[in-house]
Symmetry: C2
Subunit: 411 residues, 2 copies
Amino acid sequence: MSLFSLLINGGLSAVGAVICYRLILTYIPIFIQRKMYGNDQSKTSNDPVPEPMGVICAAVYLIVMFIFIPVPFFEWVGSETEFPYAKLLAILSGLISISTAILLGFADDMLDLRWRHKLLFPTLSSLPLLMVYYVSGNSTTVMIPGLLRHLIHPFFDLPISVNISFVYYIFMGMVIVFCTNAINILAGVNGLESGQSLVISISVIIFNVVQLIRVDSQYWHHLISLYFLLPFTACTAILFHFNKYPSRVFVGDTFCYWSGMTLAVVSILGHFSKTLMVFFIPQTFNFIYSLPQLFHFVPCPRHRMPKYDGKSDTVSMSKAIFKKSELKSLGKLSLFIFNLVGLLEKREFEKDGEIWIEINNLTIINLVLKFSGPMHESRLNQVLMGIQISCSILAFFIRFYLASLFYDVVN
Amino acid sequence: MSLFSLLINGGLSAVGAVICYRLILTYIPIFIQRKMYGNDQSKTSNDPVPEPMGVICAAVYLIVMFIFIPVPFFEWVGSETEFPYAKLLAILSGLISISTAILLGFADDMLDLRWRHKLLFPTLSSLPLLMVYYVSGNSTTVMIPGLLRHLIHPFFDLPISVNISFVYYIFMGMVIVFCTNAINILAGVNGLESGQSLVISISVIIFNVVQLIRVDSQYWHHLISLYFLLPFTACTAILFHFNKYPSRVFVGDTFCYWSGMTLAVVSILGHFSKTLMVFFIPQTFNFIYSLPQLFHFVPCPRHRMPKYDGKSDTVSMSKAIFKKSELKSLGKLSLFIFNLVGLLEKREFEKDGEIWIEINNLTIINLVLKFSGPMHESRLNQVLMGIQISCSILAFFIRFYLASLFYDVVN
């Protein structure tokens, strides 16, 4: 029966992809006519690129989900058993978070919302999801690594697992806020937003399928994740087709929030939020690396995307230039650490009697360009996709091999 | 306990209203800067009026609802009883329909969607709601009027009630599609969209309170309606303050879809969709009266709002002029009927050897102006609000007095 649901879900996803393809073509001229477009900073031409096209794919995604929702419950009709309320609740609470994330993203594209509103809204819109997690009696227990237990055993007897209760809810809330913003922060290269989302969602799908085959007890958790992810992957693949170099459309914040929230939602409903964070290693690294500029410990220019050179048609790392006196102490410390571990291109020079500092902007994109030197934009995206895929492979290694070394029981 | 929830809901609504007020003031310049505005056709000045401000109030509404959702379930925590899944499902499925209606409205404001998309999306987004209605074992039984039963009794024995099953679902689906579009069609005068929604929502609130006191058995149905409507009314009241003559903001399609969907949702969750339609009499009349132009049986100009006269600062009915040969047979028939019952201003004249017809545009607004003659825009809105309030009073009369004459048992 669940195979039947999966087949229907896959079929609807395929139809959704076709509709996405046609609707994007339909709406490209409408976006331009309504002045909803951006200009590609890394091209010599100045053609308008429709933005945010993510809203079209997100709308198709929602429609596919609405049509699909009743399907997994067909087997209940006419049966004598009680309706599986908790399962429907899980799907609906996930959809609420996703649809409000889409709304938030679209509003952000249109209105440039403030940061505090952008952090507040996803936090609040995930309340129904966390509440459903709570009332469904889902576990907030985490395993303690066997290795750690054995090491500490002579002094102290650690249990196999501990219930961290509300701390787990705070963790899940943070996963949601982090994911909704993580894709948005790692952006600025043709095909990057949609590409990274595609790699992560396909990785999660592989993980779900492996778990469906391996672990009987978590059947529903990985099934529900697939229900959400197959249509998402289908719609995103089409979007990537239009968004990859040279971009015919931009995805917008709408896509970034939609994609981040969808991945966060499935990880919570599927009970693999910790595993998801391993798939998000590049985004996490980029976020931590960006922190000094995001929190303005280090001066941050308005745009941090790579610098385009029209002559050679390549991009190189973009730089921030500021007076040394502008640097706060936390900024000094973080630059010192980044410099120490070789993650910083830094130059000091004197001008008008003051000492100025020039550093690369603190994003993983500029970091790649620091090591590689200037390269073509499409090549840069390939490198970034390569990093993302490597991290997915690493994630599988950590999840399936390393974890079994550290834990006594691993699912 | 439910009184406690209502108090919290009322408190949150009040806070929501204050936040709406401040956010609208904050976002007025941002909307204008982002070129999101309209021009008021019925004013001599050409100042930009920010639009769609409904999206700000809708976002506040969603946040209030997210914060409120856990409240009615506090009493369950620590109790031994099973969690009231069906109640949470009802709230979440309603919120999904509402949040996607807001998204649809906002997309329509930004992109001018096509009619078929505007009809398809609310239909599909209401599927979860109807599904929850189904699995919660809610009744699809309608009462048969006692009078009818007595009249037919000598020939045929009618039951007291019949289960019309899936026909009832089709009816509810139509209520949703009708309501989401009804407010949008009755528009074009300062304060009209927000004003009519305010009158209907306050009427429904009064109806809910009366039923809470009168009928014990439907306690939850009217309670859940209040949970949704108190914050809606609070946010809409603030929007009305800015939208009434002279409009400082326009509400946009975002508001019309949000408001229509919210009213439809509460009527379905609260089991009073038939009663709601009585509150929608002006909208229903306007819809039927508009049909010949909406379906282009009669030529329809791009805008049908009243004509503004700058000298006298009044509005008068706007007209459609077309060749008699353009009129289709269904158009001829409908104009003949409207003329017969005195609902049409019609003039025929000859020009360039052809017969031309001039009629008033078929909206209830132009109909009021046909009977009253030109009047000031704020006066016109007062008249329309008067009609809406009269219909609410009529609705109470029908619901509580007439119904008890026709039916044996009325709740």
